[in-house]
């Protein structure tokens, strides 16, 4: 996943401006990153990106929530349902920095029981590669 470092250094947008970005890395690699507040009002965009990514069999998916300022249960549901769709056919990891809001919610929701969660994007990318 050579593109990881590139994207990791991408320009920082305004903190709460919601964006979803999908990066392609090789045949099966996808990195879906989210910026801003991820909640029920914009989760559809995010969910579509994940659904598109998980069309790919043997997907190696990284969901990067490093720049997410807020995520509600619907947003987490979208991540975990992507994990459910992938099942055993592919690999998936989520990047959630320690101490972020997303990390708190991930803990409460028990997301780490279902998907591999890493502190950094690089670690997540390394895990699925």
């Amino acid at each position: 996943m050579s593109s990881a470092s590139k994207a990791g250094g991408s320009a920082m947008p305004a903190p709460n401006e919601f964006r979803v970005l999908t990066e392609v890395s090789g045949k099966h690699g996808r990195i879906v990153s989210v910026v801003g507040d991820l909640d029920i009002s914009n989760v559809d965009t995010f969910r579509s990106a994940l659904i598109e990514a998980t069309q790919n069999e043997r997907i190696r998916l990284v969901v990067d929530l490093s720049l997410v300022s807020f995520v509600d249960s619907v947003g987490i549901g979208a991540v975990l349902h992507a994990r459910k769709r992938i099942g055993d056919s592919g690999r998936m990891a989520v990047a959630v920095p320690d101490g972020s809001y997303a990390a708190v919610i991930f803990d409460v929701v028990g997301a780490d029981a279902l998907v591999d969660v890493f502190n950094s994007r690089a670690a997540a990318v390394a895990h699925v590669s």
């Binding site: 029920i40 509600d72 249960s73 803990d107 929701v109 780490d112 029981a113 279902l114």
Partner: protein
């Protein structure tokens, strides 16, 4: 709409006044020379040809005109004025008249108008002068002309006939004529429609007729004539307005009429929109009420006491997208034990309601069937998985036992309850996932003492997500609020306070506050946690994170890891019990998962099939 109808005439009046003023000013400027033509030109566009209308010519036409009857008086007036300016004296006036009439069709109208005007004037008593003027003018001018106007004029003259105007012409032909012209012009315009202008019309009328050049004037006049007739007695403002309106050029009038029509249409459209908005608003209120009813089917009314504990619950739906999806229930299992269920269907809205009911009653049934909170969730997770599909449901289940003073809680993707006597929110590590995510849940259960005087608050994330100055309250902030609750405060008071103290509440808020009875025991034991651990929890570091979160001493933590690893060689998962007290954590390992051997998975079915 009413406002509009009032406003339009007012606007018209204002415009008319403005136009009138303009007309007045112009003639004055040009005064000395050919006052007539220029003056007329601006307003009506009628070009007076000073051409001294010869008597004879006028005469024949004049007659014809006479027949024509009363037509557009005003227009002619102007024409006349102009002509007069050029040709001094009455003769001119007379000639003008005859001319106007003589001119074919247009003329006929024009002519007709003249007399009509006069008549009106006379009848009204408006301007005797005018009437007179005319009458006097006619005769001297041209005999031929006389016939037509004469009869008409006569009546006019009969009226009070004030000397002024009549005299004027006589006095100094030229100058007076001019003077008149000016006046005439001005008046004529002003007068235009309704009868308002008394003296002016008369004077101008005759004069106008004379030179009254071409078809233009007549055309313009035609409609106006009609107007005056209709208008009977006019007074004060009406009169002025009428005057003013008459002066307005036709195209402008059309434009104004168009505008008025447009305004009326707009008004109607607005009215319609308002009605529709009202209708929609009522409809929305009804629908919201319906949703409220449905929601209340999921949110039961609670008695003051459920079992021995005091339980209060409150629900506040969010405005907009997030509304709906929270649910709770509380019921007594037996004399001492009180159950609380609270949850949140992610996704919300209408679609969430059936799911909330499904989950609530399913979990309740397992609890009533005797399963512990953790086991109830574990079974529910397995059973409901196929029905939930892409829906994620977080659930919190608790049993308070008034005989022991202990509160036992398990959560599936839901925050643990906040206890008013705790300093900080409980550790979230090793939480079990929500229902509907495809993984096993019901893996952690917490038992804590709940002494009399304390309160346990079960809440949905809407409470921790309230925003104040852009900051979310978070569980930590909410824990502070719980500690500040007085003994009388229940769930409703808590939500009310949160709403009052925050700027916005983006999500549904549901909470249940449980308080032990005063005669319940205050157990000395600490917190006891039961974890069901499998190999993945170890490899994913969930166990380590849990031990870290509780700051379990390295020695105890290592012992726990070794015990778990050993047990996992013999079975798929292992249950460990961790007792936290002042001296630290104590870990013990049970050999096998305590719970639940229902043949619910596919393997079970296959085995049954194979056996069969």
């Amino acid at each position: 709409v009413r406002r509009l109808t009032v406003a339009i005439p007012a606007a018209l009046a204002a415009m008319a006044l403005a136009t009138g003023g303009y007309a007045d000013a112009k003639p004055k400027d040009k005064g000395p020379d050919k006052a007539g033509p220029p003056a007329a030109a601006p307003v009506e566009g009628a070009e007076a040809t000073p051409a001294p209308a010869p008597g004879p010519e006028a005469a024949p036409r004049g007659k014809g005109a006479g027949n024509g009857g009363a037509a557009p008086a005003p227009a002619r007036g102007k024409g006349a004025a102009k002509s007069r300016g050029d040709v001094p004296g009455r003769a001119n006036g007379a000639g003008g008249r005859s001319n106007g009439s003589g001119r074919g069709n247009g003329a006929a109208k024009g002519r007709a108008a003249a007399p009509g005007q006069i008549r009106k004037a006379a009848a009204r008593g408006g301007s005797p002068a005018a009437g007179r003027t005319r009458s006097s003018a006619t005769p001297p001018a041209t005999p031929g002309a006389a016939p037509a106007p004469a009869p008409i004029a006569a009546p006019a003259a009969a009226a009070p006939a004030p000397p002024t105007q009549a005299a004027a012409p006589k006095a100094t032909p030229r100058r007076k004529a001019r003077a008149r012209t000016r006046r005439g012009t001005t008046r004529a315009r002003t007068r235009a429609l309704p009868a308002a202008a008394p003296a002016a019309p008369v004077v101008s009328a005759p004069a106008a007729v004379a030179p009254a050049p071409r078809a233009r004037a007549p055309r313009t006049r035609a409609p106006r004539v009609a107007a005056p007739r209709k208008a009977a007695p006019r007074r004060g403002l009406t009169r002025i307005v009428t005057h003013v309106v008459e002066v307005i050029p036709r195209p402008v009038r059309f434009a104004l009429a168009g505008l008025a029509a447009l305004a009326a249409l707009l008004g109607l459209a607005l009215l319609a929109a308002a009605l529709r908005a009202g209708h929609l608003k009522r409809q929305r209120a009804r629908l919201k009420q319906d949703v409220g009813l449905l929601q209340s089917a999921v949110l039961p009314e609670l008695p003051e006491r459920v079992g021995r504990a005091s339980v209060t619950a409150a629900y506040r739906p969010a405005e907009g997208l997030a509304a709906g999806g929270d649910f709770y229930d509380a019921f007594a299992l037996d004399d001492d034990r009180t159950c609380v269920i609270l949850g949140d269907v992610a996704g919300h809205g209408r679609d969430a309601i059936p799911v909330t009911a499904l989950v609530r009653y399913t979990v309740r049934a397992y609890l009533e069937g005797g399963l512990a909170p953790r086991q109830a969730l574990q079974v529910a997770g397995r059973v409901l998985e196929p029905q939930l599909r892409e829906t994620m449901v977080t659930v919190l289940v608790a049993i308070y036992d008034a005989a022991t003073g202990l509160l036992t809680v398990a959560a599936a993707g839901h925050p643990l309850p906040l206890i008013s006597t705790d300093e900080a929110p409980p550790v979230a590590a090793f939480s079990s996932p929500a229902l509907g995510l495809g993984g096993p849940t019901g893996r952690r259960q917490v038992t804590v003492p709940l002494p009399p005087g304390a309160a346990a608050c079960f809440y949905t994330d809407g409470l921790a997500d309230v925003l104040t100055e852009g900051e979310r309250l978070m569980p930590t902030g909410l824990a502070g609020e719980i500690r500040r609750l007085s003994r009388e405060d229940g769930a409703a008071e808590l939500i009310a306070r949160l709403v009052r103290d925050s700027d916005s509440q983006p999500d549904d808020m549901a909470c249940v506050v449980l308080r032990p009875p005063d005669d319940a025991p205050s157990p000395r034991t600490g917190r006891v946690e039961e974890l069901e651990v499998d190999a993945r929890d170890v490899t994913r570091g969930r166990l380590d994170r849990y031990l870290d979160a509780y700051r379990v001493s390295p020695g105890v933590a290592d012992a726990a890891r070794r015990a778990v690893a050993n047990a996992l060689r013999r079975s798929h998962s292992v249950v460990i019990e961790i007792a936290h007290d002042a001296s630290g954590a104590h870990v013990s390992v049970a050999d096998s998962p305590a719970v639940v051997a229902l043949p619910l998975d596919e393997r079970g079915d296959e085995q049954l099939a194979a056996a069969g």
